[in-house]
Every structure is written in structure tokens, then in C-alpha cells.
């Protein structure tokens, strides 16, 4: 899939994540897309194809959003791939441009979770684990129990992830939570599924994000800040009901390996990573599978500051899902927006110094028999 022409991200927009109870997903998506059109100055007739990612946004969400800004009549698709829905929409936009089928493609993600009520994310695909009471925090709690048991990490290490990422989110005006938390705050927050407490879990949020992808020719016409898509990859989970190591998310390893091969970059080249930290333990599991930490050692990277904004590799300098929140289908697009701003020097107080190469990672899906149902990795660069 790497053979093909170069593809660029030429604009990004996020409608701030948070609680927008009265604003449905299509309106949130419209606000992000409208901002993107204004920022890039793209003529809607110039957009060849559109993809909208959402889990709970309903039928024809992409049409309901894009037709409001004049992208109407072109091929338009609504994409569902659990937490990877938005990144999957971006991947399909990339496929369209890299193949030459399109010169300019828009991708967005939009979600309103408040309308579903409180509590854990509803898992709507009845299967035998959901019938037994499985919820996403329980799945990550068991991975956490096993990781701590197998690799000598402690609950304190999970707390360090929450404290770091919440500190990163303080200066992000798009984040659901823009306040720091202390170790005591995390340790005294209520139990959700041991060893995970509330502040080891990301909030359910509402929000939307959008990006514009295009060929070099269109990028030059639009004449704004741009970054190159060095890799765009989606993989599905490998189904198994046998014994397997739940501290090793093979879906992330496989997706990242394909992205490294496609881009020619490796984990040692990355200046920043926006990682799917839906739960604090996820940063440990996935940073190892992404290759930015040695197996079983990610907790030491966190506690020694290697993943800080000014560390060896900045992990979730935007605040991650723990700060930004997780409007499921919008998350993957927002990560790409945050990385676009980093690589074009527009990240303000969030800026990672001299950032040249960034990786975004989402993975998700509450279905039995796979560690996650879908995963997407993008590598962006200003080189």
C-alpha cells in the first residue's frame, strides 16, 4: 500500500470536547467541518470524497454533516469501527488520495455520548461476554491486574500516567478536562474496577474533529501549512477463544509494524505519540507494542519522565484521552489534528520542541475473542 503518490494533511479543526448534551453528533460534526472549510479556504466543490466516523451517530451521519457545507452530491460514507472509527475515516480518505481516485478528501469524526446517559459506554453488540456483564473498564482492569502481576509494576505507575496526561491537558483548550490532578486525587477517586479508579479512566465526552487530505498539487493551491502522511494503516483484531497474553496488544504491534514499514521510520524516530490511553494502563500496554518502550518497562519510562512533553518521546502531549475525553468516533481524528498542529508549529503551549515526526494510535472495540476489534496508526511528518 505504500506505493502511490504523496498525501498531505492541509488543515485540521476540533470542536472542543466536553459535555455538549444539547448538541447532537451531526451538529458537532458540522461545527468542526465548517471550521475546517473556513480555515483551509477549500472550495467545497473541490472535495472529491468524504468520510465520517462515528459509533452512535446514526445512519448517513456523513451526509447530514457534509451537505451543510456544500459537500453534497459527491461520494460520502459513514464509517463505524468502534474507537477507531474516526481514524478509519481518515485512512479511507488517505486511500482515496494515494490511489489517485481523489485529489482532495475530507474526513471527520463526531460523537455525542451524553445523549446515551451516564455510566460505562454501552456495548450494543450482544455477545457472550457482554451477557456476562463485561464493560470496557473491566476489560482494561483485568489487563492491568495481569500487567502489574507479570511485570512488577504497581498501581502507583498507573497513577503516574494519569497525573502526566492530566498535566499535559491543562493548556489544551480543546480538552474535556483542563485541570491537573494530584496523586492523592487519583488515589482517592472512586473504584471503578480494581485496580482502576475513576481518574485512571477517560471520560465519555461529546465532540468532533475534521481534517482535509489532498495531493501535492491541491496542497500547493491551498497554500496553507501542511504535513505529509508517511503512513496510514488500519488492522482488525485476530479472533481467538484460546489462551493468549492479554498484556501484549498484538493488534497494536501489527498495525505499528505496517506503519513503520510503510513510512521508513521506526519508533526511535518519533518525536511525539498520541496514544489511545482510554485507561491509564493502556499507555503502558500500547507504548510497548508501539516499540517506544521495552517489554515490561513502560512504567519506568513514565515514572522517569521519558514520556513527558520534553522527554525522550512525548506521549500524548495534548493530554491524551485522559484529558481530552473520548467522543469515541472523533478521537482518532482529533489525535491527527493535534499532531498536525504540533508539526506545523501551531500547538502553542502544547508545543513539543522541534517536533518533526509524530505517530497517532487508536484501538478499540468491546467484542469478545479479540483484544481489540480495530486499530489505526498514522505517522505524520513535516520532513
Amino acid at each position: 500500500m505504500s506505493a502511490g503518490r504523496e498525501v498531505f494533511v492541509v488543515g485540521a479543526a476540533v470542536h472542543p470536547f466536553g459535555k455538549h448534551r444539547e448538541t447532537p453528533a451531526d451538529q458537532l460534526g458540522y461545527l468542526a467541518v465548517s471550521d475546517l472549510i473556513a480555515t483551509t479556504g477549500v472550495d467545497p466543490a473541490r472535495v472529491d470524497v468524504g468520510f465520517g466516523g462515528s459509533v452512535y451517530g446514526g445512519s448517513l451521519l456523513a451526509q447530514r454533516v457534509l451537505q451543510r457545507v456544500g459537500i453534497s452530491g459527491q461520494p460520502v460514507f459513514t464509517i463505524e469501527n468502534a474507537c477507531a472509527s474516526g481514524a478509519s475515516a481518515v485512512h479511507l480518505a488517505w486511500q482515496s488520495v494515494v490511489s489517485g481516485a481523489a485529489d482532495c478528501a475530507i474526513a471527520f469524526g463526531a460523537e455525542n455520548l451524553s445523549s446515551l446517559g451516564g455510566g460505562t459506554l454501552p456495548l450494543t453488540t450482544a455477545d457472550l461476554e457482554i451477557d456476562q456483564g463485561m464493560v470496557m473498564p473491566a476489560a482494561y482492569a483485568m489487563r492491568a491486574q495481569r500487567y502489574l502481576n507479570d511485570w512488577g509494576a504497581t498501581v502507583d505507575d498507573l497513577t503516574s500516567v494519569s497525573v502526566k496526561n492530566r498535566a499535559n491537558g491543562v493548556d489544551n483548550p480543546r480538552a474535556h478536562f483542563q485541570s491537573p490532578v494530584s496523586r492523592d486525587d487519583v488515589e482517592n477517586s472512586r473504584q471503578i474496577a480494581d485496580p482502576l479508579r475513576l481518574m485512571h479512566c477517560c471520560p465519555n465526552s461529546d465532540g468532533a474533529a475534521a481534517v482535509l487530505l489532498c495531493s501535492e498539487e491541491v496542497a500547493e493551491q491551498l497554500n496553507g501549512p501542511r504535513v505529509r502522511v508517511a503512513a496510514s494503516v488500519v488492522r482488525s483484531g485476530r479472533f481467538s477463544t484460546g489462551y493468549r497474553d492479554m498484556t501484549w496488544p498484538d493488534i497494536t504491534e501489527r498495525t505499528a509494524a505496517a506503519a513503520y514499514a510503510q513510512s521508513g521510520y521506526g519508533p526511535e524516530d518519533l518525536d511525539l505519540v498520541e496514544l489511545h490511553d482510554a485507561f491509564a494502563v493502556a499507555e503502558l500496554l500500547h507504548s510497548e507494542a508501539l516499540g517506544i518502550a521495552e517489554r515490561g518497562k513502560a512504567h519506568a519510562e513514565v515514572t522517569t519522565g521519558q514520556f513527558d512533553r520534553d522527554g525522550r518521546v512525548a506521549v500524548s502531549p495534548s493530554g491524551g484521552l485522559l484529558s481530552r475525553g473520548h467522543p469515541v468516533g472523533a478521537t482518532g481524528v482529533a489525535q491527527i489534528c493535534e499532531t498536525y498542529w504540533q508539526l506545523t508549529g501551531q500547538a502553542g503551549a502544547l508545543q513539543v520542541r522541534d517536533a518533526q515526526i509524530g505517530l497517532t494510535h487508536v484501538t478499540g472495540g468491546g467484542i469478545f475473542g479479540v483484544d481489540n476489534g480495530a486499530c489505526s496508526v498514522h505517522i505524520l511528518t513535516n520532513l
Binding site: L128, G133, D194, T241
Partner: protein, 137 residues
């Protein structure tokens, strides 16, 4: 060796009733093994999800296993009346998710027995299913 002749399907109202047999207290699982690639599947299936072979053997597991991981869930669907305890358990080549009958999580590697237990209650009454109890070492 338990007498499998005493094992029969649970009441059809049980959660996952088609997936196990019980003698009223212990539980054995209905699994399939692929004759072509030896993958193990729970719940049982007619086609191997690894190699797509339809040459599968139906088998019953024993009624004991090992806890892979477990947690006490404080926020969950209403019918389970949180807190409730869940575990991933390894039994004869398959890993399943089940309720633990104890209030506390078990350490990884703890032996467990498969039992018939009430795992919750909804408007129609108690929810019966397979579950796991801490086993004898």
C-alpha cells in the same frame, strides 16, 4: 473423573444456556476443537474461525481451571447489581469470561471450579449461568 452422565443442559432461561451442561452444582463447557488446525473454540461453532474448516469435534471440558485475571466491577449493567466480580479463566484450552462467586478478585494463577450460580437478577427473576468459584489448591 466426574460422572458426565449426571450432566444435562441447564434451564433454557439460564444466561448462555446453550454453552454448558450442569449436574446442578458443577458445570462443564461445550467446546469445539478444529481437526484441521487444533484451534479450540468456546462457544462451540460449526466452522473454525481460524482456518474455516468445517471438520470440528464437539467436546466437553472438565469443570476446573485457572484464573488468568479478575476484577471487582463497581459500575456495570443494572441486572448485575454492582459490585460484582469477573474473571478470565482458562479451562482445557479455552479462555472464558465468567462471574466469580467471591466478593474479591483472585490472584492470577489461582485454581477455580466451574459452578452453576446466580449472576444477577432482572425483572423476570434471578439470572442463572455458569460461574467460577475459588478452587481447592
Amino acid at each position: 473423573m466426574q460422572q458426565l452422565s449426571n450432566f444435562a443442559p441447564p434451564p433454557s432461561s439460564a444466561v448462555g444456556a446453550e454453552h454448558f451442561l450442569t449436574d446442578g452444582s458443577r458445570v462443564v463447557l461445550r467446546v469445539t476443537r478444529c481437526s484441521a488446525c487444533e484451534s479450540s473454540w468456546f462457544p462451540a461453532r460449526a466452522q473454525c474461525s481460524n482456518c474455516a474448516s468445517t471438520d470440528l469435534r464437539e467436546e466437553l471440558t472438565s469443570s476446573s481451571g485457572i484464573a488468568y485475571a479478575s476484577t471487582v466491577v463497581q459500575v456495570g449493567p443494572r441486572q448485575f447489581h454492582a459490585p460484582y466480580t469477573l474473571a478470565y479463566v482458562d479451562v482445557d484450552g479455552v479462555r472464558l469470561l465468567a462471574h466469580l462467586t467471591s466478593a474479591d478478585a483472585l490472584a492470577p494463577g489461582a485454581p477455580v471450579d466451574l459452578v452453576l450460580a446466580q449472576i444477577g437478577a432482572d425483572d423476570d427473576g434471578p439470572l442463572l449461568s455458569y460461574a467460577v468459584a475459588e478452587g481447592a489448591r
